[in-house]
C-alpha cells in the first residue's frame, strides 16, 4: 500500500475507501481500484493487483465454455448488475448464460441483463452505454471485436464508469487491441471425483498485459467455496502436463486405453464402467481388464 500524501486528510481517505467498497472494488498495490480474480498468484502478476476498470479480452477455443466460466467466476466477485451483450448468432452458436449454471459459479442470475443486438454497431453502442453507467459491475460482450478506435472509446467509457468491459473472443485473436489484458482460457482435464468429471479446471494464459509479463496458470474452480485457486501443474496431474491440450479435431485415437478397446468391441456394461473410471495416478486401468 502506497503511503498517503500528508496533505490528504483522514476524511478524504475514508471517503475514498468508502467509494471503493461501494463499487465493490479493492485497492491494488499501486492504489488503483481493481477487481481481484480470487487467485493470489494471478492477482500478483497483474500490475494493478487485479483487473482494473477498463477493457479486457478473454478468448477461448471454438466451442470451449471455459471463458464463460472464468468470466462468471470473476463477475461473482463484484456486486452489481452485469450487462451481457451478444448477437443472436452468438447466442445460437455458443449458447446463452444459463441461470442455474452460473449460480454455481457465484454469479447470481438475477444480476444479468441480457441485451441482444442485430448489428455490430448497435452492439458497440450498447456496450459503450453500459460501460459509461455507474453501478454496473461489468459489461460482457460476446462475439464482437472492436477495432482500435472503438476499443479506445470503450476504454475511456469504462474508466469514466469505473466498470469492467470484458470481451469474449473465439480463438486466439491476432489483431492488435487496446485491451489492458488479453487472456486465453482453455478447459483442462479435471481431477475426476467419484464418477465423472470433477471440479472445473482451466488453463489460464495471460498472454498480453499492459505493464505486466505474460504468464500461465492452471486453475481450479471450487464450487463449494466459490473461489478460484491455482493448482500446481505438475504435482498430481502428470497426464495434463504430458498431453498438450488438444485444439479442435486433431485429437488422435488414444491407443493406450485397453478398457476403451474392449468397450468398442463388446459394448457390455463392465466395459463401459471401465471407460468411466480413471485413476488419478495417470496410468489408466480398466476395471474390466
Amino acid at each position: 500500500m502506497t503511503p498517503c500524501p500528508p496533505h490528504l486528510s483522514h476524511s478524504i481517505r475514508i471517503a475514498q475507501a468508502a467509494a471503493l467498497i461501494r463499487a465493490g472494488l479493492t485497492k491494488g498495490p499501486e492504489g488503483r481500484p481493481c477487481v481481484g480474480t480470487g487467485a493470489a498468484e494471478i492477482d500478483e502478476a497483474l500490475p494493478w493487483g487485479g483487473l482494473t476498470p477498463g477493457l479486457h479480452e478473454i478468448a477461448a477455443a471454438y466451442g470451449d465454455a471455459a471463458k464463460a466460466g472464468f468470466v462468471a467466476s470473476l463477475l461473482g466477485r463484484r456486486p452489481g448488475p452485469v450487462l451481457w451483450c451478444r448477437s443472436r448468432r452468438t447466442a445460437l452458436e455458443a449458447g446463452d448464460p444459463y441461470g442455474p449454471g452460473i449460480a454455481g459459479l457465484g454469479l447470481e442470475p438475477d444480476r444479468l441483463i441480457l441485451a441482444e443486438a442485430a448489428k455490430p454497431p448497435e452492439l458497440l453502442w450498447a456496450m459503450e452505454e453500459g460501460a459509461r453507467t455507474k453501478g454496473l459491475a461489468a459489461v460482457v460482450a460476446d462475439g464482437v471485436m472492436p477495432d482500435l478506435t472503438a476499443g479506445r472509446r470503450l476504454q475511456l467509457a469504462a474508466e469514466a464508469g469505473q466498470g469492467l468491459v470484458l470481451l469474449l473472443a473465439t480463438g486466439r485473436q491476432a489483431a492488435a487491441s487496446t485491451a489492458l489484458t488479453r487472456w486465453f482460457v482453455s478447459s483442462a482435464p479435471s481431477r475426476p471425483e467419484a464418477e465423472g468429471p470433477g471440479r472445473p479446471c482451466w488453463t489460464v494464459e495471460l498472454w498480453r498485459c499492459r505493464g505486466g509479463r505474460p504468464r500461465e496458470w492452471m486453475v481450479e474452480w471450487d464450487d463449494a467455496a466459490l473461489s478460484l485457486s491455482v493448482v500446481p501443474p505438475m504435482a498430481d496431474r502428470p497426464l495434463a502436463a504430458a498431453i498438450p491440450v488438444p485444439q479442435g479435431p486433431a485429437t488422435g485415437f488414444d491407443g493406450a486405453r485397453p478398457g476403451r478397446n474392449q468397450v468398442d468391441g463388446g459394448g457390455q456394461d463392465s466395459g463401459a464402467d471401465g471407460a468411466r473410471r480413471r485413476d488419478d495416478a495417470g496410468g489408466r486401468k480398466s476395471a474390466a481388464a
Binding site: A68, Y98, E195, G196, P200
Partner: protein
Amino acid sequence: MGLAVGMTLADARALLPDLTVADADPGTDAKALATLTGWCGRYSPWCAPDGEDGIRLDITGCAHLFGGEAAMLSDMIRRLWGFGIAARGAVADTPAAAWGWARHRRKSASPILGTGETAPLLPLPVTALRLEADSIDTLRVLGLNTIATVIDLPRGPLTQRLGEAVLERLDRMFDRASEPISPRAIAEPWASRMIFPEPIGRREDIDAAAERLTVHLCRAMSLKGQGARRLALNFYRVDGAVQHIAIGTSRPTHTPAHIFRLFAERLDQVEPGFGIEAVVLEATETEPLAAMQGTLTAASEIDATDLAGLIDRLQNRLGPARVVQLVPVESHVPERAEARERASAPSPSRFAGSSLSRRARDFKAPLPPGEGGAQPLAGKVPSILKSARPVALLPIPEPIEAIAPVPDDPPLTFRWRRIQHRVAFADGPERIEPEWWRAEATEKARDYYRVEDLAGRRFWLYREGPYGAPEPPRWFLHGFFP
C-alpha cells in the same frame, strides 16, 4: 301513453302491443351517464351524476355565459333531445328542489324557479321529496299527499313516525340544510405544448423545444407525485403532417434529464419539412411515483437511477424484447427452468448486497436423481453436484452422432459440428421426463450425461428416447460446463 316505471311487461304490452323490449343493463347505463356528465362539463365544471337517471350541475356563476339561466337550460335540453335523450330540466335554489321540480312540475309550469321562490314547490306530491317508497306509502296512508301538507307538521312527531329522512329532504329542498355536489373528477392528460410564432426547422431548436417541454411536464408530474411510463412527442408541421416519437421507461420517472436523453436519441428521425409549428409532449401512461427514501450510501440510489436510464435507452433502441432478465421458473425441464422477461430497473436495494438475493436463491440447481432434493446440501452431497447444470445452454439442442453402449451408458465418442470428441469421463444418466401435464409436451424422456472429453472440455449431452423403441434414440448436445 300510460307507461310507468315498475309496470309489469304484460301490462305494458297490453297498452302498447308493438313495444320494443330490452333487458336492463345498469352498468352500461351508469357508464353512459358518466359520459353524459362529462359532456355537461361544457356548462359548468361542477357537475356530477345524480342517482341512476339524473345529472346535477352547480351553475353558480356560469349561467351568464349562455345568456341567462333560461337560455342555458333550453340550450341544454335542446341538445340532449338532439342526442335522442328525453330529458327534462329545472333550475332551482337547491339541488333537491331542482330534482323535484324537474320531475314533478306541471307541463305548463316554467322550469326556472327564481331565487327564494318556494311557493310553486308546495303543491308538488310527496314523491318530489325523493323519499323511500315505504315512507311515501306511510305519508299517503296518513293523507299527506303534497309537500304543503308535510311542511307545517311538528318536527318531533314526524321524525318519530317516519325517521329523519323526511325532515332532511325537506330541509335540503327549502335550503335549510346544504347538499354539496361532489363533482366528477376529471383525469387531466399529462401534456405540455409549445406553439411557435415562426415555424422551426433547425435541429438545435427542436432539441431546445423538446428539452423545455420535458422540464415543464416533469415539474407538473413531480408536483402531483406521478411518473411517466410512456411518453409521446408529437411534431405538428406546417404542411399538416404530424410526426410522433414514442418512448417507454422501465419504471415511472419524472427526471427531465432521463426523459430528454431517451428522446434525444430519436430526434434524428424528425423531418421538419417546411417547418414545425407546434410540439406537444404527452405522457400517455403514468404511474404514481412516491418520493423515495434515500439510503445511507447515497451512491447506490444514484446507481439505480443510472441503471434505469441505461435499461430504457437499450430497450428503446434495441427493442423491449431484446433486453431481458432471467427469471426462474419451477420446472425440471432445463430449457423451461428459466424464462426471460423484459428487463426492468431494480429497486435501489435489490443489488445492495453481494449476498444471494431472493431470485437467485430460486435458481437452485436440481440434484441428480437418488440424492433427494429434500436433504440439506451442506455436508451430505458432494459439492460438485451443485454445479450439475451447465453454464451455457444452447437455445436449440444440436443433434450429434454418438457411439454409446446400450442400454444407458454415456457415449464413448461423439461428433459435434464436424469435430470428433472422445469422452474421458462421464457422469449420468440423469433422466428428465417430459412434463406430461402440459398439453404441448410431446417430447420423449431424456437421459442427460455430463461428459468431459480428452481435452478437458465439458459438455451436457442427452439421449432422447429409450433403446428398443420403434425409432432409434437420438443424441443431442444441450449445453456446456465451464
